[in-house]
């Protein structure tokens, strides 16, 4: 089965890509927005790769 925490993590990372830039950092005059986007994307990527390895170790969770 798909784990709820994986769904929450993905949705959260996606929302962070939209909400913070449009509410807090949109008018920035430094590289902070650029760095923010890279940090969120790379942090989520690390989490996703970790979870991906775990799911594969459990046998692929096929459901088929």
């Amino acid at each position: 089965m798909v784990q709820v925490r994986d769904i929450i993590a993905g949705v959260l990372a996606t929302l962070l890509m939209y909400i913070v830039p449009y509410t807090v950092l949109g008018g920035t005059s430094s590289w902070i927005l650029y760095i923010y986007w890279v940090v969120v994307a790379s942090s989520y990527t690390c989490y996703a790769l970790y979870r991906f390895s775990r799911i594969l170790m459990r046998g692929g969770s096929s459901g088929a």
């Binding site: 798909v2 784990q3 994986d6 769904i7 993905g10 990372a13 996606t14 890509m17 939209y18 830039p21 449009y22 950092l25 949109g26 008018g27 920035t28 005059s29 430094s30 590289w31 902070i32 927005l33 650029y34 986007w37 890279v38 969120v40 994307a41 790379s42 989520y44 990527t45 996703a48 790769l49 979870r51 991906f52 390895s53 799911i55 594969l56 692929g60 969770s61 096929s62 459901g63 088929a64």
Partner: protein
């Protein structure tokens, strides 16, 4: 011919020769069945899988379109591209292991094959094959335009062998790509994709080093950074209104499950380790390539703002303008990498669409299907598809150009039925009508938007929401609301 053009022709020629040698070498992998031809017999290693996944995903749009977008509209372009990246990692994490396992258990060789099987409906597979032809042949045409424009840039315009350099690019690109696909199917495509992927990342890295060096020796990196900040280009510019940002990002977020050329690549890794490696290497490639490309676009804008580069209005001209002042060898490498990025997308799509047409439209009507004939028909379809894309690249018909821009939005309606069937394969066959309704309704809305708004449909708001979001909402609701059949076997099941 000028020395710069001669060098460009030499680099391009070397690339074509190496690629062709690799394609021919790929025949050693042994093509005995349609599974060998279309999905490499489910026995590809991690690095090769990752490079073909990355080279297929990232087209000429990155080094031309995204550099231009960043130049014109600032950091928002990075956000748009990274939303795609996060979406892909999200979908791969929760769905790729299932798709990979089911593909080998159920012996899928194409996306039509997959959806026909999951929904127990030949009609679903046939409709999907038609949608791929409709959405992806124009997109292939746009990529051939990228190849021809790069060749023209390499040769500095003018004529070669009595042909206009753009036409020469279309001709050479078409012949090379057909050869690379036809020779050994997925194996030759993957091996040449690997070459293309390595060239793309190396050329991008070289381009970045050069532009940073050029900038530090002229206005200075600090001056460029200060100027970008003072112009508001490091924040969200007025271009990236929420409706525009959402309109751009929604189709791309679902790219990993809607675009058949990447979905099919989930079938090919030989084991779980190779699948894991594929996703890891792709993540590294995608993140690095995106950051490098957007930094180039921002620094280029800084050079313009400080007076070291002319102002450029056309976003597709930013990279060629930069390359015109870059060292000749770097310029030749980057132009060749752009042609490579476009080429790797075209040949992957051609093979994928051919596999879906064979399994979705040819096989169901064939009285005596055989492996050899399926491969032969696929090869003929590849030739026809690349020729059609070449004609589109030459004619540049307005409606088809709009379709190419919106191809990901047109494929968006495939997301609900694909994700549902991967998550609930045991329930999918009762939902075949819902899958058809989802695909037909979504594609119809996308097409109506193209007819009404042309290339602007992606960011056009309708009742306050961008069109791609409407496409996704309507196709999802159609899928959810249509009643399931009571029988476990659909009437058109074979």
């Amino acid at each position: 011919m000028e020395p710069r053009a001669l060098l460009g022709l030499a680099v391009l020629g070397l690339y074509v020769v190496i690629g062709t040698v690799l394609a021919v070498y790929a025949r050693r992998m042994g093509i005995k069945s349609s599974r060998d031809y279309y999905v490499a017999g489910y026995r590809m290693g991690s690095l090769l899988s990752a490079l073909t996944y990355a080279a297929t995903t990232y087209s000429a749009f990155m080094m031309v379109g995204l550099v231009g977008f960043t130049y014109l509209y600032g950091s928002g372009a990075l956000g748009f591209e990274l939303v795609y990246f996060v979406g892909t990692m999200f979908l791969l994490t929760i769905l790729a292991p299932r798709a990979w396992r089911m593909a080998r258990e159920r012996k899928w060789i194409s996306i039509s094959d997959m959806l026909s099987d999951l929904y127990s409906s030949k009609l679903v597979g046939g409709v999907v094959a038609v949608v791929f032809l409709y959405a992806l042949v124009p997109y292939m045409g746009a990529q051939v335009v990228g190849i021809a424009t790069s060749v023209k840039g390499l040769l500095g315009g003018g004529e070669i062998l009595g042909l206009d350099s753009y036409l020469f690019g279309v001709l050479v690109g078409g012949i090379v790509l057909i050869t690379w696909v036809v020779v050994a199917g997925m194996w030759s495509v993957a091996l040449t994709d690997a070459l293309q992927g390595v060239l793309m990342i190396l050329a991008a890295a070289g381009f970045l080093v050069w532009i940073l060096d050029y900038t530090s020796r002229n206005p200075g990196l600090g001056e460029v950074s200060h100027t970008l900040a003072s112009r508001g280009l490091l924040g969200i510019t007025s271009f990236w209104k929420p409706v525009v940002f959402i309109g751009f990002t929604v189709p791309w977020f679902f790219f990993a499950v809607t675009n058949p050329q990447v979905v099919q690549r989930l079938f090919i890794p030989r084991d779980q380790r190779a699948l894991s490696g594929m996703v890891k290497w792709f993540a590294l490639f995608g993140l690095s390539y995106t950051v490098v490309v957007t930094v180039i676009g921002l620094v280029a804008r800084g050079l313009t703002e400080t007076g070291y580069l002319p102002s450029i209005e056309d976003k597709d001209m930013v990279t060629p303008t930069l390359l015109s002042i870059a060292p000749p060898l770097l310029s030749a490498l980057v132009f060749t990498s752009i042609a490579a990025a476009a080429g790797s997308t075209v040949d992957s799509i051609a093979l994928t669409v051919a596999s879906s047409v064979v399994t979705g439209l040819y096989k169901p009507f064939s009285k005596k299907p055989s492996e050899a004939v399926e491969i032969l028909v696929g090869r003929i379809i590849v030739v026809v598809l690349v020729l059609a894309a070449s004609v589109i690249a030459i004619k540049k018909i307005g409606f088809i150009v709009a379709l190419s821009v919106l191809s990901s939005a047109i494929l968006l309606p495939l997301a609900p039925p694909t994700i549902y069937a991967w998550l609930h394969p045991e329930k999918a066959e009762r939902a075949s009508r819902a899958a058809l309704a989802s695909i037909v309704s979504g594609v119809s809305i996308a097409t109506a938007a193209v007819l009404e708004y042309g290339v602007g449909a992606l960011v056009k708001p309708l009742l306050g929401l961008p069109i791609p979001l409407w496409v996704l909402l309507v196709s999802t609701l159609s899928f959810i609301l249509l009643p399931r059949t009571s029988s476990t076997r659909h009437p058109d099941h074979d």
